[in-house]
């Protein structure tokens, strides 16, 4: 009676151990399934959100959007200025980042997907700790395990994730952003004299090995300050949403 069950377990365990060889064959099936699921998710997300969005939230979102537009205009001006300066100083040559495009083939179960499997591995230069970014340079997660033909990425909002970040405020506050419930990040132990505001942009600080500085992590959603406490804390909203993606790019070690 137990033989078929033991045989199944053995075959599946062997398949997982030899996943390097099998991953290409499995990815052939997984890639379209994951892309199809993501497509459905992106097409129907409005329907799922509609019932939960209140008029107040719409008003807040519109205010935030206006703020973002203003910020964007300012950032655009800074980007042009920065580009000119970098060209002059030859920074682009020194930081020509190489990346590999990867398809997401599996995810953890549940809406707060906190890890996903990609179809590229050590054969393609992917290493543990390398950052995975979405197309526009937003940090999505970091590689936690890599095999020859596949790797697992843990998203930055996972409770076991920690990312070295800098807040783009006046004092360039640095800290460690940790995952918390509700797909948010928390930034704790910020000295009281640091000035942090809602909507401040948060980027990677570059103080973590394998993760370059300047990758966009998210924005400050709330700041908790207690005048009697030595530290303040902030809640960050990550901009990268792994559930809406079917393709990510992993930065390769040579470029880090």
């Amino acid at each position: 009676m137990l033989f078929p069950g033991m045989a199944i377990a053995s075959i599946v365990i062997l398949a997982i151990f030899f996943r390097g060889s099998l991953s290409d064959a499995l990815a052939f099936v997984q890639r379209p399934l994951a892309a199809f699921g993501t497509w459905i998710g992106n097409k129907t997300v409005g329907a799922f959100d509609a019932a939960t969005v209140s008029p107040e939230r719409v008003a807040n979102l519109e205010t935030e959007r206006d703020q973002v537009v203003v910020d964007h205009a300012e950032l655009e001006r800074l980007r042009v200025e920065n580009q000119e300066l970098r060209t002059q100083l030859g920074f682009l040559d020194r930081r020509g980042e190489r990346s590999v495009a990867c398809s997401i083939v599996s995810r953890s179960i549940g809406p707060d997907a906190s890890a996903f499997v990609i179809d590229r591995g050590t054969d393609d230069g992917v290493i543990v700790g390398a950052p995975a970014i979405s197309g526009d340079g937003i940090l999505v997660g970091k590689v936690v395990s890599a095999y020859s033909g596949s790797a697992t990425v843990r998203v930055i909002s996972d409770r076991d994730s920690a990312t070295a970040v800098t807040i783009l405020n006046g004092t360039r506050t640095i800290g460690i952003a940790e995952g918390m419930s509700g797909a948010l990040l928390s930034l704790r132990y910020i000295p009281q004299d640091e000035r942090i505001q809602v909507n401040d942009i948060v980027v990677t600080s570059g103080l973590e090995s394998n993760v370059p500085s300047g990758l966009v992590v998210g924005i400050v959603n709330a700041v908790t300050t207690d005048a009697t406490a030595p530290f303040q804390s902030a809640v960050l909203e990550p901009l990268g949403d792994a559930r809406r993606l079917s393709v990510v790019s992993v930065l390769l070690p040579e470029s880090l």
């Binding site: 199944i8 099936v29 399934l33 699921g37 707060d112 997907a113 409770r159």
Partner: protein, 177 residues
């Protein structure tokens, strides 16, 4: 060997569909417990012991790919597999819809009690890493969607039995449904 191979391939297909397709769907659909539902159906309604192995192997699959929703999923899914085996063998009839639902419910309860114990242990040292809200939400939607899957499987019992016989997963002369 043919039977084990066919059951293994079907298991891998179901695991891929769950982790690649269902997990990418929006809202509660991402909770869809396809493999555990198929395992429960196979063990309880078809009386095929491999169904319990599917369940525990899926926990192992999630842990080995490092994509578990909760820590140590192999143990939680193992508890569910034991619950399914015991209740399908000694407690619930495999001929009724209610027996199937009760067996499925007991598996989910066993799995989530084990998860709660593991999360409780984790929470003792790292309370910030445990979200009881996410746990409750997962339990609720797992249970609801499991019943939906079992209802669909039960409705297509005849076709499923023919498929399992054609693909050598159960013997041709078996008629336990």
């Amino acid at each position: 060997m043919m039977k084990a191979l066919a059951l293994s391939i079907l298991f891998l297909l179901l695991a891929i569909v769950q982790t690649s397709f269902f997990s990418a769907l929006p809202g509660i659909l991402a909770y869809a417990p396809l493999v555990i539902a198929a395992g429960i159906y196979l063990r309880q309604h078809v009386q095929e012991p491999s169904g319990a192995f599917w369940i525990v192997t899926f926990g192992l699959f999630l842990d080995m790919l490092a994509i578990p929703s909760f820590p140590l999923e192999t143990i939680s899914y193992g508890a569910a597999a034991i619950a399914v085996s015991l209740t399908s063998q000694h407690v619930f009839s495999n001929r009724s819809w209610y027996g199937l639902i009760a067996c499925g419910g007991s598996a989910i309860v066993a799995m989530n009690v084990t998860r709660a114990v593991i999360l409780g242990i984790v929470a003792l040292r790292h309370p910030e890493r445990v979200s009881w809200h996410a746990f409750g939400e997962t339990l609720l939607w797992n249970l609801v969607l499991l019943f939906v899957f079992l209802a669909i499987f039960f409705a297509f019992a005849g076709q499923i039995r023919s498929f399992l016989k054609t693909t050598f997963m159960i013997s041709k002369d078996r008629d336990t449904l």
